[in-house]
């Protein structure tokens, strides 16, 4: 059976050289659905709890997160052991609550998660009489699709990728674009003025920030010479023990700048603070999801966290070595395939989660931008900056000028890549940084400490 190299390798590992159909089917389930079911969906579901935990820690309060599972255990014992005397039930409950995991559950507030889930499902599924029926109903599922579909092309390991196509980067950008349609459908279909304004703002914002995102991805595609995410990861492989030296982020200051642009624009694509004008609760109630309740609202919330994780995974894949370990990657790739796959999946999850944490951190640190500031930041700052960085990447490549065969990485053969001597590499960093520093010094001499626009924005000039 030919289900792609990853599935076939796993099927052979499970059931010998001639795997039966069930081994192939199982392998397909693990490779295609494993990362989604075991990593992405749990993080999307846990997103709210992670957010509350971070918020509570930053504001030095407990937050609603100290609920354990004791009540749930008591309830389950009552339901399942109804035939036992009450005293025995109590003793059983106490026994179960002393189990080692329960203290941890109390510390983590896992009970809150269960309660939230039951609450969300039990809530009334309200569809306003004024709403455009099927548009309103379809929107949350489409938002979820837009957040989950791109994960099919993101490699979680050498074999752990569901969709291995030469245009994976294009696919990720295109599938992520579904979210815009979902936002517009939610805003329009609700039949509510707040929702319509929120939806329009959301669409304008997401669509605008798609340009810097596209330019940032284009920079990496140009540098690595491929749109295949698996090859982009492979081209960041460095045989040195400090393997992070091969990551795109450290190759050129222009690529580092593009990574920062991608992060800021990705934050805006998820409509997170400081870019959450679409849901500005102080003026639009809740924006496009004002009329949503229960499970439909929950799907929007889950899609938001899945999308944040997606942005983290894309930045990690394009700029931070993908699923590679920062240290000792040559040793890891030499391990048995299943062990390497586990470590690789863990590495990508850690990188993406770290970026997700930064996004949550920013939300509880920065104030919200005004809607005209959001638009100006995109079109007047990020798009020209991304264009300049793209030109910088192209100029660096022109100046380096020579292409050499790279090194093979696991099952991915050696690919041609840009050849930079150590001196050229150092120059590629020093020259742009020196020019930028010079420009900043000149600008300060002309305009004073702050540019007049910045001074007006921050109110320092008054």
């Amino acid at each position: 059976m030919n289900l792609g190299p990853g599935v076939d390798a796993l099927a052979r590992f499970l059931a010998g050289p001639e795997p039966a159909w069930w081994a192939s089917a199982l392998a397909a389930c693990i490779v295609w659905l494993g990362p989604l079911l075991l990593i992405v969906l749990p993080i999307a579901a846990l997103g709210q709890i992670i957010e509350r935990k971070v918020a509570a820690a930053m504001q030095r309060r407990h937050g609603p997160n100290t609920a354990g599972l004791d009540g749930l255990v008591r309830f389950l014992v009552r339901c399942l052991c109804w035939f036992l005397p009450r005293a025995t039930q109590e003793r059983l409950t106490a026994r179960l609550c002393r189990l080692p995991g329960m203290q941890l559950a109390r510390r983590l507030g896992l009970g809150q998660l269960v309660a939230d889930g039951i609450k969300m499902l039990g809530k009334e599924d309200l569809i306003p009489g004024n709403a455009d029926g099927w548009v309103f109903r379809l929107a949350p599922y489409l938002a979820m699709c837009g957040a989950l579909l791109p994960f099919a092309a993101i490699p979680f390991g050498q074999h752990l990728v569901a969709l291995e196509v030469p245009v994976a980067a294009l696919y990720v950008a295109a599938a992520g674009g579904l979210t815009v349609i979902a936002l517009f459908m939610a805003g329009w279909g609700s039949g509510n003025k707040f929702s319509l304004l929120g939806g329009m703002r959301a669409v304008a914002q997401v669509v605008s920030y798609e340009i810097p995102v596209g330019l940032a991805i284009a920079g990496v595609v140009l540098w690595c010479g491929s749109m295949d995410l698996q090859r982009i990861v492979a081209s960041q492989y460095n045989a040195h023990w400090a393997s992070f030296l091969g990551w795109n982020f450290f190759q050129s200051p222009f690529l580092a700048l593009l990574a920062v642009i991608l992060f800021v624009a990705g934050l805006a694509e998820c409509q997170r603070t400081p870019f959450d004008m679409a849901e500005a609760e102080s003026e639009l109630v809740s924006g496009f999801n004002t009329e949503y309740s229960g499970l439909r609202w929950g799907l929007f919330a889950m899609a938001e966290y899945a999308e944040m994780f997606l942005v983290g995974a894309i930045i990690a894949t394009l700029f931070l070595g993908g699923y590679q370990s920062p240290f000792g990657e040559p040793a890891i790739i030499a391990l048995p395939a299943w062990l390497a796959a586990l470590i690789h999946a863990l590495m990508l999850t850690l990188k993406a989660s770290a970026l997700l944490f930064v996004m949550v951190w920013l939300r509880w640190t920065l104030p919200r931008l005004r809607v005209d500031q959001v638009m100006r930041l995109c079109w007047i700052t990020l798009v020209p900056l991304a264009l300049l960085a793209l030109f910088g990447v192209a100029l660096t490549m022109l100046a380096a000028g020579s292409v050499a065969p790279g090194s093979a990485y696991g099952r991915i053969p050696a690919l041609p890549e840009l050849h930079l001597t150590p001196l050229a590499h150092a120059l590629a960093w020093v020259l742009p940084v020196a020019i930028a520093a010079l420009l900043i010094v000149l600008a300060r001499r002309q305009h004073g400490r702050l540019h007049p626009d910045l001074a007006r924005l921050s109110g320092a000039g008054r």
Binding site: K123, M200, W379, I380, V403
Partner: protein, 140 residues
């Protein structure tokens, strides 16, 4: 038709059965919750609850009203830039080939001209105030 095949399948079958049971139990519980809420939804009088939410006031007029035309500027600019990206992306992966063939400078100039024309258009829109949402768009 060996016993080994059957027992091998049986071992996995038991895992599958447990998984299916778990799905059935959780799914069944959730289905019951949904069913109860559905029935409760039907029992109560829906007229008041199904009105559009406008902070407790009676909704005024239709929700599908006209909105500011500056969204149009953004939409058109986005369309142009997105087509630019769609045309730019397919040639980028070939850049290393051209570089190896010694045609790097020529291709760089050609693509720069293409992107540069669109950059001029962006500067024009910005100069006309198309991205200044804190003011009205000027005519001149």
């Amino acid at each position: 038709m060996g016993m080994e095949a059957a027992s091998g399948l049986g071992a996995w079958g038991s895992v599958a059965a447990i998984a299916a049971l778990a799905v059935l139990v959780v799914g069944g519980a959730l289905a019951v919750v949904r069913l109860v809420t559905r029935i409760l939804d039907r029992i109560r009088d829906p007229r008041e609850r199904l009105t559009t939410y406008e902070c407790g006031e009676q909704p005024v007029g239709s929700a599908w009203f006209r909105f500011n035309n500056r969204f149009t500027t953004i939409a058109l600019t986005f369309l142009v830039c997105d087509i630019e990206l769609a045309l730019l992306w397919p040639i980028l992966p070939r850049a290393l080939d051209w570089l190896a063939a010694g045609e790097g400078a020529r291709v760089f100039l050609e693509v720069s001209a293409f992107v540069g024309i669109l950059a001029i258009a962006l500067i024009w829109v910005a100069a006309r105030g198309g991205f200044r949402w804190d003011r009205e768009v000027s005519d001149g």
